[in-house]
């Protein structure tokens, strides 16, 4: 079944079962592997993308539900203030969770130009990092807020 949606400003039409999670359509069908598979149950946030600007977990978003909608992935952030802050503070270690972290952080900053620690906790606690980059993530969000 053909489903058309917009990814990073470009319309894509895919022929997949509509119940396929957006995550796997991005990764396997469209070859955009920046969005990561971590848990498959919206518990870890590695698969976070933007759906019309809102952070959503693509492992729990059926592709059929995003027909005609706008999706932004890590490949579409185009070196925004969050990515620049991530580079400035050398946030990633293994880096696997970081696309999801940056998608959540970008959505947070789009909605809140000057997030408090509590705002950061609320927006980012759905994203697990096993390497323990949390102190740098927090600092990088503040850095991005200042430099945005």
């Amino acid at each position: 079944m053909n489903i058309t949606f917009n990814v990073n400003g470009k319309n894509e039409t895919v022929d997949v079962a509509p119940d396929t999670p957006l995550l796997w359509v991005l990764r396997d069908t469209l070859g955009m592997t920046g969005t990561k598979f971590g848990c498959g149950k919206a518990l870890c946030g590695a698969c976070t993308v933007h759906l019309n600007g809102m952070a959503v977990r693509s492992c729990q978003t059926q592709v059929g539900s995003v027909a005609g909608q706008k999706i932004t992935t890590i490949e579409g952030l185009k070196m925004n203030a969050v990515q620049k802050a991530w580079i400035a503070l050398d946030v990633p270690q293994c880096g696997y969770c970081q696309p999801g972290q940056m998608m959540s952080a970008s959505a947070l900053l789009a909605a809140n130009r000057n997030p408090s620690d509590a705002d950061i906790d609320a927006a980012m606690s759905g994203n697990i990092c096993r390497c323990g980059t949390y102190p740098r993530i927090r600092a990088a969000i503040k850095h991005a807020a200042k430099n945005a």
Partner: protein, 736 residues
């Protein structure tokens, strides 16, 4: 310096052909001159670590796996320091398996044991210096001058009268020059690259852009995806399966049986996964049928009655203990833990009649050709291994099980390239877990509260008995006595014993390995003794630090000599920097812990707040670190941050349990790990200035073990409650 390519097997075989001559120098593996680089240019390799293109591109080989700890930056920094090149312009490339790349501290091409920098510290600087000297000799020969008249600077060779030659021009000849026997190194004071506090990681920009660098991102033409059904039972075996529904699902190309279960091979992962869910599989529970925690703990308790093997003894503890004024006795019970790196296990394998290509996130590339050859019937040299970036390792990827699985599946599916991806559930329930165990301690205190006699009796499974049985001697696995055989206190009478006990659960190396067991139990127990003695926990430790330069026998990866002065120094500094002794509000507490591991000494003070319901918040952690010289200071710091996070998760929530011979936790809802809102509110680090000629210590692991007793001791200070069973959950604290 962002593009990281894999050296092809072809390049490597060519480059290693010259090794057959038997060059004795460990870091030298000459390359043939002017090899095609595949992109229209050519390159030469003065040795196994340095590749120089005719376009002057310098590529440095990374022989360790990048799993977040920063080796893709720190290893090349060491080479570049002596090679005299602009570090911002070099590329790095992961090395294939080869003897020249073996980690001397581990005896294999293996990333683990916090050994990468320790092993590379001199070796890679010599590799860089040797290559530079060969480039200099080549230019000198070309110009007909003495090598002493040629200087290497920033990728250029400069001779008398302003003669210049680029490294790229000189490299083909350099690769044929005699390998220098005497390779002098710069003094630490002359370092320009190593120790640069502003150095950035080479892999950050591509990771930030979301480029496909991990094993799970790998794609090759014609690739299929595999989802797997593995035994839910530990040690279980496939009895039968019905694939009548699965094989007719859209996109499914094959349903195949392999050693570990049944795999569905399909055009996409989701198609494979959906079809896999429709398999009807019958399993035989195998030898562990009905295994549960009650039986496991009963087995451990029974085994603990055995005397065990003695790994450290002095004085006469039997005589000393009855004379003690006071006796403190405790048993610590520590659970199984899962590694759970964020990237689930995966491998891309293509196994045809005469060739296997294995692309995998592995910590142990050297082992893979052996196990894949064994599983497929191919010859060792027919197996090519390419190491990708690892989405976390923590010891899980020392195991090669998932590479074998993918190879078997590709072969069974007719040789198509297959990317096998485990679900999180597959990953968490098929881990090699941090061993559970019981740790019995008793101490006899004299009238002043000082410990005069001590027993330590560990009962836990041996990891090495399965993975490296040759290192297990006289009932002692050296990796099972870490963090206690280097007991840092001067106690005249002591006897430490280890009772190996297999629980049926597969156990594996988990970041900091047995330091997480032994040092956790020990440092909690020392606090108990301090309380019994009525002494301040830091002063108590300071008074007992063993200053004698004795050597202990077992741990291969620790300092190997008593490190009393370093321990004392770190304790004194953490006391001062943490504001130890300053009053804290009700419900708050401070705890200390100290340990030497991997030749790094860490003293830590944790401050916690404990609610009336026993919910614990870690407010502040002050660390004093004596790790010798730092190659990449910012990422040394990152490893401390990382270990604290990993250890905090483990001690506060980590617990894998078994019921009906199955692992009960299968995702991050049942296996809790720290989230950003739960991370310590404040981390402070103080680095001890290295002594002259002090070699680097490891930093990838030790703090993982130190943070745990520091938190436990802080909770005890805040509440008077000492949990003898980890994790430090409200339930376990309330029950203590």
């Amino acid at each position: 310096m962002e593009q990281i390519k894999h050296q092809s097997r072809r390049d490597f075989v060519k480059a290693s052909a010259a090794v057959a001559g038997g060059l004795a120098i460990g870091f030298h593996m000459p390359g043939k001159v002017a090899q095609a680089d595949g992109g229209g240019g050519s390159f030469a390799m003065p040795n196994a670590w340095v590749k120089i293109g005719n376009d002057n591109q310098v590529t440095l080989m990374v022989a360790r796996s990048e799993m977040g700890q920063g080796v893709a930056t720190s290893m090349p920094m060491l080479i570049a320091e002596e090679l005299e090149v602009d570090f911002s312009k070099v590329k790095v490339e992961f090395a294939p398996p080869a003897e020249v790349y073996i980690n001397s501290l581990l005896g294999g091409q293996l990333t683990g044991g916090s050994t990468s920098v320790r092993d590379a510290w001199e070796k890679l600087r010599k590799a860089g210096a040797s290559a530079r000297m060969m480039l200099v000799s080549a230019a000198a020969a070309e110009w007909g001058v003495d090598a002493s008249q040629v200087k290497a600077e920033n990728g250029q060779l400069i001779g008398p009268g302003g003669k210049r030659m680029s490294y790229g021009m000189a490299a083909p000849k350099a690769a044929q020059m005699e390998v220098p026997k005497d390779v002098p190194l710069k003094p630490v004071s002359a370092f320009k690259v190593v120790g640069n506090a502003k150095q950035k990681r080479v892999d950050t920009p591509m990771k930030v852009r979301g480029e496909p660098v991990f094993g799970i991102d790998t794609r090759v033409p014609g690739m299929m995806y595999a989802a797997v059904a593995m035994s839910p039972y530990i040690g279980g075996k496939l009895k039968s399966y019905d694939d009548s529904r699965a094989k007719n699902m859209p996109g499914v190309k094959a349903v195949v049986q392999y050693s570990r279960g049944v795999a569905v091979v399909a055009d996409s992962y989701w198609q494979a996964k959906k079809a896999k869910d429709l398999l009807r599989v019958e399993w035989d529970q195998g030898p562990n049928a009905g295994l549960n925690m009650q039986k496991i703990w009963a087995g451990i308790e029974e085994a603990a009655k055995q005397p065990g093997a003695t790994f450290r003894e002095s004085g006469n503890v039997e005589e000393a203990m009855p004379k003690a004024a006071k006796t403190v006795t405790s048993t610590y019970t520590l659970p199984f833990l899962s590694h759970s790196p964020m990237e689930p296990m995966n491998t891309l394998a293509q196994v045809s009649a005469d060739k296997a290509i294995i692309i995998t996130p592995t910590q142990f590339q050297q082992l893979i050709p052996h196990v894949v050859a064994g599983a497929t019937g191919l010859k060792l040299e027919q197996v090519e291994v390419r190491t990708t970036y690892l989405g976390g390792g923590f010891g899980r990827r020392v195991e090669v099980d998932y590479a074998i699985d993918a190879a078997e599946i590709s072969k069974a599916a007719g040789g198509v390239p297959v990317k096998m991806v485990w679900s999180r559930e597959d990953d968490m329930t098929h881990d090699s877990y941090r061993p559970a165990g019981k740790f019995g301690l008793s101490a006899g205190l004299d009238a002043n509260g000082m410990i005069t006699g001590m027993r330590f009796h560990s009962t836990s499974p041996s990891i090495s008995a399965r993975l490296f049985p040759s290192v297990v001697k006289d009932g002692i696995d050296p990796f099972a006595v870490e963090g206690i055989d280097n007991f840092p206190y001067a106690v005249p009478n002591l006897k430490f014993t280890y009772q190996m006990h297999d629980t049926g659960v597969t156990v594996g190396y988990w970041r900091a390995v047995s330091h997480n067991l032994n040092a956790v139990a020990l440092e909690c127990f020392i606090d108990e003794c301090a309380v019994a003695a009525g002494k301040d926990p830091i002063d108590y430790r300071l008074a007992m630090v063993d200053m004698a330069p004795s050597k202990h026998a077992w741990s291969g990866l620790s300092a190997g000599v008593a490190v009393g002065p370093r321990i004392k120094n770190a304790l004194q500094m953490v006391k001062e920097k943490s504001g130890w002794g300053k009053p804290l509000a009700q419900g708050k507490g401070r705890g200390v812990a100290v340990m030497e591991g991997y030749n790094t000494v860490i003293a830590m003070v944790a401050e916690v707040t404990v609610s009336p319901n026993f919910d614990v918040t870690v407010d502040r952690v002050v660390s004093v670190v004596d790790a010798g010289p730092l190659v990449h200071p910012d990422q040394a710091l990152a490893q401390m941050e990382s270990c604290i996070n990993f250890g905090q998760s483990a001690c506060m929530w980590g617990e894998i349990t078994i019921n009906e011979n199955s692992v009960e936790q299968n995702n991050f809802d049942s296996y809790r790990v720290a989230r950003i809102n739960e991370a310590p509110k404040k981390l402070e680090f103080h680095w001890i200035k290295p002594a002259d000629n002090q070699p680097p210590g490891g930093l990838g692991e030790p703090a993982t073990a130190v943070i745990q007793p520091a938190i436990a001791n802080a909770i005890a200070a805040a509440t008077g409650k000492r949990a003898k069973m980890l994790p430090l959950t409200p339930e376990n604290l309330r029950a203590s």
